[in-house]
């Protein structure tokens, strides 16, 4: 129903294989100022869309809004609600936030032209969810307390060499210790990642989040996402629990959240070309010397 005369544009949340019931969608609050959520069809693919005010979703308006943390938060949550609304009806492919079309027709034709690729993503994501796992170095004070209790106070009873030379050797020892701890923590993060990959169909890494974003005083070593078969979910979470309980992994703190709709694995035609390229290379190789 979007058109320029009503001042609305079509906001596309997600694509899904099954058609979500209208009632379920209508109960979901999408972006504020917009109409009720509804569906469109492009071949075998259903689109979850909402009419949103064009004035709020133009380039300038979006840039402005997404650069304000509170607006960004509201927008992200609204987007996620729209995506999640479709999740109970089979595999769902989320679109990036702020995917907007001038009209329903444009949205439908954009999706229809990629129908096969979208169906391939449905097949890949069906019966699978995403798990977010982050690994942080243990909080500095906790680690320092465990590693160097007793010699922590400058000029305390533990200081053997007085004066400048003593200070320098203590400083370099501290630096060495910190470096060793970081190395160990990074190795542990790799171990965590490799362990979890054994229970996942696929894994991907997001950019590590800054300490300001995480609210922690320790660096983030891993910000990963794993695509896990529903049938192996229990195995995956059990592996997570074992890693958390493992005394050898004290240098790090492991946090997780899930199940997520597989945002991080919704990519058009990525796994297909990989296989196709291999096949093509193999075919070409038979003819080559």
């Amino acid at each position: 129903m979007s058109s320029s005369d009503t001042g609305t544009v079509t906001y596309l949340f997600a694509l899904c294989a099954g058609r979500p019931p209208d009632g379920a969608l209508a109960a979901v609050a999408g972006h504020s100022g917009g109409g009720p959520l509804r569906t469109l069809a492009a071949g075998a693919v259903h689109l979850v869309v909402q009419d949103v005010p064009a004035a709020d979703f133009g380039e300038r308006a979006l840039t402005d809004r997404l650069n304000r943390p509170e607006e960004l938060r509201r927008c992200a949550l609204a987007h996620h609600r729209g995506v999640a609304a479709a999740a109970p009806c089979g595999p769902v492919v989320p679109l990036p936030m702020a995917t907007v079309y001038l009209s329903d027709g444009n949205a439908v034709s954009a999706v229809a032209s990629r129908e096969e690729a979208v169906l391939a993503v449905f097949r890949r994501l069906d019966g699978r969810t995403e798990w977010a796992v982050k690994v942080h170095a243990a909080a500095p004070e906790a680690a320092a307390g465990a590693a160097g209790s007793g010699s922590a106070g400058t000029g305390g009873p533990g200081t053997a060499v007085p004066g400048g030379r003593g200070y320098l050797s203590r400083a370099s020892a501290r630096q060495r210790m910190r470096r060793d701890r970081h190395e160990t923590a990074r190795a542990v993060a790799r171990t965590v990642d490799l362990t979890l990959r054994r229970y996942a169909v696929d894994a991907t890494a997001h950019r590590p989040q800054s300490e300001h974003l995480t609210g922690r005083r320790a660096p983030q070593l891993l910000n990963a996402a794993y695509l896990v078969d529903d049938a192996r979910r229990a195995e995956f979470t059990a592996a997570l629990d074992r890693l958390r309980a493992d005394g050898r992994l004290r240098e790090v703190e492991i946090t997780s959240s899930g199940p997520w709709i597989p945002y991080s694995f919704a990519r058009l035609g990525e796994q297909v070309p990989a296989a196709a390229t291999t096949a093509a290379a193999g075919a070409a190789g038979t003819g080559a010397p």
């Binding site: 979703f57 992200a76 679109l95 995917t99 300001h212 660096p219 958390r244």
Partner: protein, 83 residues
């Protein structure tokens, strides 16, 4: 900027989206959500408006957020990239 994910009490609980009250903002790890809604998902372009509201725009604003952050809080591990 205050984000609800700034928890200090250990592990965030799992966030089910298939439960009774699946979309409650409380407990949703917002920074994780932003990683996903901004950086992931299928890009279906082909429209004028989408070309505008496409990834570049979103990247720009994310970078604006992150760079304003990193300017204030320099990383102690300047050399550490993604593993």
């Amino acid at each position: 900027m205050i984000l609800p994910d700034a928890r200090e009490d250990g592990l965030p609980p799992p966030v089910p989206w298939d439960g009774d009250e699946p979309y409650a903002p409380i407990g949703l790890p917002l920074v994780d959500l932003l990683d996903r809604v901004l950086g992931a998902g299928v890009v279906v372009s082909g429209d004028l408006v989408l070309a505008i509201a496409d990834v570049p725009l979103v990247r720009v604003s994310l970078h604006a957020l992150l760079s304003s952050v990193s300017a204030r809080v320099p990383s102690p591990w300047a050399d550490s990239g993604p593993l």
